[in-house]
Amino acid sequence: MISEEKLRILTESAKYDVSCSSSGSARKNNGGMGNGYAAGCCHSFTPDGRCISLLKILLSNDCIFNCKYCMSRSEADVPRMTATPDEICELVMDFYKRNYIEGLFLSSAVVKSPNFAMEQLLLTVKKLRTEYHFFGYIHVKGIPRADEGLVRETALYADRMSFNLELPTERSLKLLAPQKSKESLLVPMQRLQREKSIFKEEKRKGHFLPAGQTTQLIVGASPEPDGLILRLTQSLYQKAGLKRVYYSSYVPLVHDSLLPDIPAGERREHRLYQADWLLRFYGFTAEEIVEDDGNLSLELDPKCSWALRNFQYFPVEVNRAPLEMLLRVPGIGARSAYKITEARKYTKLTFEDLKKMRVVLKRARHFITTDGKFYGERQQSAVRGLLTSGETHENAVQLSLFSDLETARSALTGEL
């Protein structure tokens, strides 16, 4: 059994990675323990409001890289620990058996060399699959500059892999993470994507990253505006085929003249997630969402803000508007839009009907008519005032960890 101290140190160093999602893989239990749960599953929630789905842990925090923002950077004076592959495997098996976790999210510092670190990760997940017969969810972090053969072999055992871009531009990377480069991160991502499609085309046996790839960007450690971050996100979704981009608002763990001393606003992170949602599920483009100054509005959520800038398209009639337009109405989420398109087949929907169907109308009423009737404000400035005053701090919760259906659903219907 792994010692408590080791578990604590290796968890502390892993916890700032945002991703915890366990969705996207339906791996079968093939005579051992565990399987994939395509919708993902949250097993617990911590006092910071985040979900625990996967056991998020480092194999080692003993790093040769010196990324300025990182608590495990080589210069830092912190206790160093390395777990053995068996310690990790045992931990996963016993936690999983008790239903504490949905699987493993294994990462590592760059111990000795990129190849050595990647080899240890590979060894651990291979062992977990082939010796411990674990078929639950595994997410493995890719080590930049590791040999492509090692990365490819790891992908045969993992459900998901991720290389963290961390900073949105080459310049910021050079400054803050001198041993990384955009190339050392983007190239392995693209390579994995290519290999996955070949694997699929040739219908090879087994699995190759069934849950695809994700990445993470640190927001607020470097000066890039939201627009640049969202355009990068958009191209990662469209061109690199990524499943998710996570945003981690910068928490100053380290004092360095190159880094800001104040944490990046969590409101900003929240707005980026809202915008990300609009890109993936609501048919918006990055260019549409961003304000003229190149950033997202902190006052208003990006959908409200877009609707106010395009006030001439509204109000739309809920009984006639196409789904794509309903999705653009502030306050109407994907589920509500779907409910409306279903229910209106049978009857002409009134304002009361929408209430009954639990469509959130606080914002939507300014942008819709129901059977020709309008219940909102007509003046754009008045609407802006009402929407802004409705945005209390409480509404700006961090929506960063949608790992289960229901949270995702509440965010879809309520928050945008």
């Binding site: 578990l7 700032y16 006092p47 409001g49 016993d94 229910a343 169907m357």
Partner: protein, 239 residues
Amino acid sequence: MIYFYDGSKNAFLTAFLLAYHDENAVLTCGSKQLTIGQEARFVQTDPERAARTEKRLLEIDPNSMVDLCTLLRSGDEDRDMVAFDYFRLLASRGEPIKAMLAEDAVAAADACIRRVGLEIHRMHGFVRFMECASGALYAPISPDHDIADALVPHFRARLSSYPFVIHDVKRGKAAIYDGEHTFLAPLDRAEVVLSADEMAWQSLWKSYYESVNIPSRERLKQLRGYMPVRYWKFLPERN
């Protein structure tokens, strides 16, 4: 008239047929206070009538029995009438009504089904097994809805080599998988002998839970929203 039935599917279907034309029908399986002058009828399950009703409802909506079984799991006080109103509307319309969310009966049934489904999904995550000395796993739960047996297929698929018991302590029943078969049995109290390592693993899990939290970002309201306090009782990390 008040129709008392025993909460089972066939009793519901029997009662449904009897009460269908009664405009003042009240269906219940709980203890209902009779008002003066109100008539009561205790419905005995009639397999033939139940089968006939089931067949007709399935003709109208092939998914209707799945919906009924989900509704009957609900612990909501008004669930008998929610189910009755929904199926009465279904039978009178003669076509699937599930998407007609502007109808009160449909909206109520939809919300009720959704609550049961949400709890099943949540409990897939919140069930906590303890390892017994025999190697079997034991998890006490106290859910809002009657879902113990509905959780079994999920755990059976992933833990197939371990016998396990999911014990609904509120309803005094247990869903049991013995390594081969699954069954439901009444169970008030369970005597559990834990394995030698069980407490050590629980304590390691608590350490993990503490370490992975970011204290500077406390959001207890969110925690309670995602993981309501009523579920904490059996979570080692919250005790």
